[in-house]
Point group: C2
């Protein structure tokens, strides 16, 4: 119980978004309030004690600095900033220039930048080079001993910095006569002042340089007998905060954000409403190994495997057209390059007037819009990814190719691949078909529709002319399935009978089925995994590369 | 085990976003594939059987219709559409006009609309009125017996429709000489054809008319001795699919979507990157009653109570400025008007150069932008909400008022309310302060900063001049706390000692603390609950009104 008394349950607050956790505190009973007050003062005392300790340390640092200053009249121009300087002490009005904005237009101008000390290199005792990185931009900063501005001690201080430390650099922009090879910016900074904001540990678990290296570069080096470090995936993921600093990773997640944005913008321009459906859902009714189960205040609950049922219910609520961007949870033991236990689902559901082609039309225009945007507006990001993970641009048509499942089966048959005409395609067959389609139609993005009913979920509408097939479709990029969609059954009794036919206990989904009893429009929709879009557009080979902190059956940390 | 064999675990697919579940199927072993094939055919047979049954029913319907047709040569102009007509049978190219687009410009034009039969009223046997609703727009459709176009049987058919059924109406737009009171659109449709797409059950659990009624209207009626139905909240939430069809609810969730969009757009224009952090996190380390625990493949795990630790880690990964929109889970037993067990968090985290005022500056400009947008661009939505739930426009300043916690305490003291100067404000004190601020500064939106350190989470940076206070802030709307934010501790050893001082086992958050050892910038951020923004901007009195399918300690369904 002690752990739960008043403010002594701060553990529970670790991840508490302050907005709500503080609200919870303010609605506490007066009882716990009393304890929390006492506790509060106790903690404040502790904090003060620590604070004093830190001040002493700072004082010592100042004394040391003062001593150094005797020896070096320029000692004020460099050094580690003490904590109190970084505690919101003052608003000075100084302006920091972005590293990516440094160019020849700023020649001879004084600038102040903040960034990461990516590499530090001394040339004798009089010159030091520090490459400073901010996001994907890098600039070379030069310290040259100079009686008035840069002391030998300052150069020594610069070379003492550990890689990845955060530094402030003040200096003057200069334009060298030759191209600078190691940095993105084609200017240098002649350093006047150098302060360390936060020191990185001297020995990093991985070097950014190593993590940013392409496989090609490693192999080229091997040819000349040089062995460069290859950082494997587990090491990367174990040290994800460092791994994410590579230019390719900085680009991947900015690209992902762009895709989400175009997805939203396009759909909003087509009158879709963005919604959020619950991730905590009743029962363990969905059964099987694929759901994460939990106890919800004494009731069995599980994490939503998709917003499927709820997005359909919102259509029944008369919203017309909706989309959702949110996490999707799968407890499947899939150890593949394309499965995660938690990923971001991009979901769409919409009333249809006549035909599921209305849904495919949205898919077509949405994705062509996304691809066009990435190719036209995200060149720099794509270049950064390409540099480490080379890929060829995705081939897609202005009007997306539409093939029936039967046509796909026929193409495979002609090519000597026999598949069950009423079964599903396995990964291998999908890849093969992707190659055949590329050869024949010159596209790596296409839709396959009219899947066999038996391989689709119970809520899929059968075809009107043949009940063995369904009004459903899958969409493929580079031979891998990325989107799945369909017209849904909107007639409650037929829906219930389809669920039953698929072995589902209808009583566990009664709220869903009943939603169709109050007047429901014909409708359809589709779902996409955000991480897969990025992975397949960029031809990456593992979905863990496109999730910030991936979750797979073996990975829950960090 | 039987339940998990091959395709016989379709229960697991209920909520499976098709994209991924289908992928899982295609990577099945050939073993389970065999079973699934057999099963697939069995199901296809079942589907066909059902199909045949339906066809027979359709044939009977046709026969009945044929019989009726003998009696009524206009029988083809109305009736219930059989299922096969709604199974994507054909693309006819017909255009449906939106109800909200119907106006006098379309006078004498033939239109086709699809919507909900909101009310149906007969006047004798020769005239019927059907009010059709689509989203928040309504239009009156008139059937008048007429030898060539409308038979008495057709009028009878119209009056047989159940409320909330989905119908297609073809007719000619006419402009009545007098204002139409009961509908949003000021035209009528003279009906020529009327088909029912999907019938609602005859007896609905709640009538939309009742659910859409304002408290005021009920009280006015009471004054003249009339008792109108008042739909209570539990009934609403139990039948959320119907409740959501009211104009106010249609508006609330469109407003919510707009807020999310402005939030994103504003932040992107300020160089923030949208991210997604994991909701499944390791350990039950955060302890207490506030987390939902679950088993993750044999490891103890819980649902993230906020993206706090992860968004800071992304800052450590060099992303500069990030935001996240995603679900947040709280297992708290809070039975208040403002707490949910699952809500949508809007989170921001950013490097700061000098001062946490840089974070407050973002809050200020972001929220003034949001409020301006809502007032200027969402008038219709606000009107729809106002009609059922009247509220006065939010008062806010062009430059948000900033008060220190100490100033707030002083204002309360002067007003006769004593509060602990190093404690937190309770809900009552917050409300009182809200009223005082409104009187003195004429604003219902303001920032209170420099909170006592002891009432803030361990990762909050203490003030540089007084360690009893912190570089933190809360933001209030209409006297209720809505945003909480702060500068964070970015120095790993100090962070660890603060965690320890707050009673947290540091070993359980080592991945987080270690993230600061590789070079970390000073940074800060804040968190907001999306549902609360809508609730407080619109002066609603319960957060369950702004969540599509709210989750509280007692509600997990629908």
């Amino acid at each position: 119980m002690a752990l739960e008394e008043g403010n002594s349950s701060p553990a529970a607050e670790i991840q508490a978004s302050e907005a709500e956790s503080r609200a919870a505190v303010s609605t506490d009973s007066s009882d716990s309030k009393g304890v929390s007050k006492k506790q509060a003062k106790k903690e404040a005392m502790k904090a003060e004690k620590l604070r004093r300790k830190q001040e002493e340390a700072a004082a010592t640092a100042v004394a040391t600095a003062a001593k150094a200053a005797e020896a070096d009249p320029l000692a004020g121009s460099y050094g580690d900033l003490p904590m109190e300087e970084l505690q919101s002490k003052a608003v000075t009005g100084r302006k920091w220039t972005e590293v990516g904005a440094l160019d020849a237009d700023l020649a001879d101008r004084a600038v102040l930048i903040r960034g990461v000390a990516q590499t530090i290199r001394a040339v004798g005792k009089k010159i030091a080079f520090v490459v400073v990185r901010q996001f994907t931009a890098t600039v070379q900063c030069v310290l040259t001993v100079n009686e008035e501005l840069v002391s030998p001690q300052m150069v020594k201080y610069a070379t003492s910095l550990s890689r990845e430390s955060i530094i402030d650099v003040e200096g003057v922009v200069s334009v060298p006569s030759e191209q600078i090879k190691g940095t993105t910016q084609q200017v240098e900074i002649q350093v006047r002042k150098l302060y360390c904001i936060n020191r990185a540990v001297a020995s990093l678990p991985i070097n950014i340089e190593d993590a940013a290296r392409s496989e090609e570069e490693i192999k080229e080096a091997e040819k000349v007998g040089e062995k460069l470090v290859r950082v494997n995936q587990d090491t990367r993921l174990n040290n994800r905060v460092l791994d994410l600093r590579t230019p390719a990773n900085q680009a991947i997640f900015r690209l992902e954000c762009s895709i989400e944005n175009i997805f939203r913008e396009f759909l909003r321009s087509e009158d879709f409403v963005g919604i959020h459906t619950p991730k905590l859902v009743a029962g363990s009714s969905e059964g099987g190994a694929a759901v994460f189960k939990l106890d919800y205040k004494g009731q069995p609950a599980c994490l939503a495997q998709s917003p499927q049922l709820y997005k359909q219910m919102v259509i029944c609520a008369g919203f017309g057209r909706v989309f959702e961007v949110g996490p999707v949870f799968r407890a499947e033991d899939s150890f593949t390059h394309r499965h995660l236990c938690e990923f971001i689902g991009l979901d769409v559901e919409m009333e249809i007037k006549e035909h599921y082609f209305e849904v495919i039309d949205i898919v077509d225009r949405l994705f062509v819009t996304i691809f066009d945007y990435l190719n036209e507006k995200c060149k720099k990001l794509l270049d950064a990814i390409n540099k480490q993970y080379p890929f060829s641009p995705l081939k897609y048509l202005r009007k997306t190719l539409l093939l029936t499942f039967e046509e796909g089966v026929k193409m495979l048959k002609v090519a000597g691949v026999e598949v069950d005409p009423l079964g599903d395609l396995n990964t291998e067959a999908e890849r093969k078909l992707g190659r055949l389609v590329l050869e024949k139609y010159d596209t790596e993005f296409y839709v396959l529709h009219r899947y066999p009913l038996a391989v689709r979920p119970f809520y899929t509408m059968p075809c009107p002319d043949n009940p063995l097939y369904s009004n459903s479709f899958d969409v493929f990029i580079r031979g891998e399935e990325i989107i799945s969609g369909a017209q849904r059954v909107h007639i409650p009794d037929f829906l219930a009978s389809r669920a039953e036919a698929c072995g589902i206990d209808v009583s566990t989904i009664s709220a869903y089925v009943d939603s169709f009893r109050y007047g429901a429009c014909p409708h359809g929709g589709f779902g996409v995994g955000l991480e897969r879009v990025v992975m397949l557009f960029c031809g990456l080979n593992n979905i863990r590369q496109t999730s910030l902190f991936p979750r797979d059956p073996q990975r829950l940390v960090p």
